[in-house]
Amino acid sequence: MKIVVCIKQVPDTTEVKLDPKTNTLIRDGVPSIINPDDKAGIETALQLKEKLNDGSTVTIVSMGPPQADVALREALAMGADEAYLLSDRAFGGSDTYATSTIIAAALKKIGYDLVITGRQAIDGDTAQVGPQIAEHIGIPQVSYAEEIVSIDNEKVVVKRQFEDRYHILELPLPCLITALAELAEPRYMSVRGIYDAYREKEVKVLGFEDLKELFNPEYIGLKGSPTNVYKSFTKQAKGAGTKYADVSADEAVKIIVDKLEERHII
């Protein structure tokens, strides 16, 4: 079985700056990590591969700038078999629709039986790219997967959490799963793994020329994105009220009770 995991490299910080001209985020100079939900997806794929133990492989795909190579090497060092970086100036500025269009094209080129994506990235928090990929390549999806109950070469059984219930769902392969961070605790890279990731394995780069037959070139990049950022701004904090720094516990209780009575809460 060919398991493909889609990952995103994200900034490891809440210190974000904006480019005032383009209103896009400046990612330079900020340390980057593999998005946590995606890393759980990598771990899940590796565990499935080990469980199946039938020559199944794990392929990692990421769209991003050339620097995203590091994230793919890390996935290789964890034990993934191969890695593809989708990188081209033409891909820049893509919204979720355009991003999913590009990744879907790459999946068509690479091949897949099971596709795993993280639920959502900690920078954008959209959770949209996974389901949009599934629609573009026409396979069923289950998002918010909490547990993979069983898998064989025909189907996968997944526990899917909702607000008030869960479903046990049976999906035929090929299909797409979006992983919650709870799905699996990622392993560390091994020394041997790191060596292999840089010496024995390669990160293949796919650009516009490699994929142009597989998507509509008008549907990718900044121009092909149906949505665009009109403006971005930092949020205004709600003003502070009264702070009591030097009160005893009994005084504090009295202050609170008085306020609760004043507001008819008690």
């Binding site: 607000e163 046990i168 149906p226 949505t227």
Partner: protein, 333 residues
């Protein structure tokens, strides 16, 4: 020509979810600015009797797709039904709740019909000049707000965070049109083997009037019992910051914040919560905020109406006792 503001009415076992009712409230405002109507889309099985309720909450029109294929949520038949509605009626705007259903369904539909989708919006309005929908959402853990437009494709689609928009008061005098749409469903590829409702009493913290919320500063899982006692005497519920949920001290359903729920209770008591921006994103709309924290530089004090620098472990039990006493005194009057 596309027109009207459509909202997906979520239902579970025939009960309308609160988020749909909130969406009707918000859609009424947007439709007013556009001079258009609010259309509620009701999908399910045996749910026709809920249409009147959508109208009482403010919808001008209800489109029902009632089919056994829609009894439990599954991506394929739900995406087919929503696509059929969009293709037939050509909405200007389509809003979904940013719930586990909406965030699964809306991206699938947006990819199918090739339009833009903005995730997890906390603010919506109409540009007075261009009449475009301005969709505002937090990103980077709430550090940045971005306003997104979808200029060239219709409908303009958004998922909207539950608990943020205001529902209208129910008014049984409202009238509207009800229309049924028949959709042909294929046999779904995905099968539901089992549906298990969560056994523990499900509490929706977004419905609570008063929330007593615990952060890292409560020190131990057992202290949630103390917070529960206070919540009980107040007639509220307990909630939590992310750290305690990650530590397994309390159920995820009670998490407030960017990756949890957005709440706007009449009273939010932040106990030992530092007030990280991700947490604040989920509770800053609270009517009245009381914060108790040992650390007098905790950011929670920047937005608390009343801030107490002190030890929650000492103050909370005393407070519970004092509130109980005050209530008893009131009852005796």
């Amino acid at each position: 020509m596309s027109k009207d503001v459509y909202v997906l009415m979520e239902q579970r076992d025939g009960e309308l979810a609160k988020v749909g009712v909130e969406l009707i409230g918000e859609a009424t405002k947007l439709a007013g600015d556009l001079g258009q109507q609010v259309v509620a889309v009701l999908l399910g099985s045996g749910i026709k009797d809920k249409a009147e309720k959508c109208i009482h909450y403010g919808a001008n029109k209800v489109i029902i797709v009632d089919d056994p294929a829609l009894a439990e949520y599954l991506t394929e038949p739900y995406a087919d039904a929503v696509t059929a509605v969009i293709e037939k009626y050509q909405p200007e705007i389509f809003l979904f709740g940013a719930s586990s259903i909406g965030r699964d369904l809306a991206p699938r539909v947006s990819a199918r019909i090739h339009t833009g989708l903005t995730a997890d919006c906390t603010g919506l309005d109409i540009d007075p000049e261009t009449k475009l929908l301005r969709m505002t959402r937090p990103a980077f853990g709430g550090n940045i707000m971005a306003t997104i437009l979808c200029k060239d494709y219709r409908p303009q689609m958004a998922t909207v965070r539950p608990g943020v928009m205001q529902a209208l008061a129910k008014d049984k005098a409202r009238t509207g049109e009800i229309e049924e749409l028949k959709v042909e469903f294929k046999a779904p590829l995905v099968k539901i083997r089992e549906v298990v409702k969560n056994e523990h009493k499900t509490v929706d913290i977004t419905e609570a009037k008063y929330l007593v919320s615990g952060g890292r500063g409560i020190g131990s899982p057992e202290f949630f019992n103390e917070l529960q006692k206070l919540a009980d005497v107040l007639g509220g519920e307990i909630s939590s910051s992310r750290a305690n949920v990650d530590a397994g001290w309390i159920d995820k359903s009670r998490q407030v914040g960017q990756t949890g729920k957005t709440v706007r209770p009449d009273l939010y008591m932040a106990c030992g919560i530092s007030g990280a921006i991700q947490h604040v994103a989920g509770m800053e709309g609270s009517e009245y905020i009381i914060a108790i924290n040992k650390n007098d530089t905790a950011p929670i004090f920047d937005l608390a109406d009343i801030g107490i620098v002190g030890d929650v472990k000492v103050i909370i039990p005393k407070l519970t006792e004092a509130v109980a006493k005050a209530k008893a005194a009131k009852n005796a009057e």
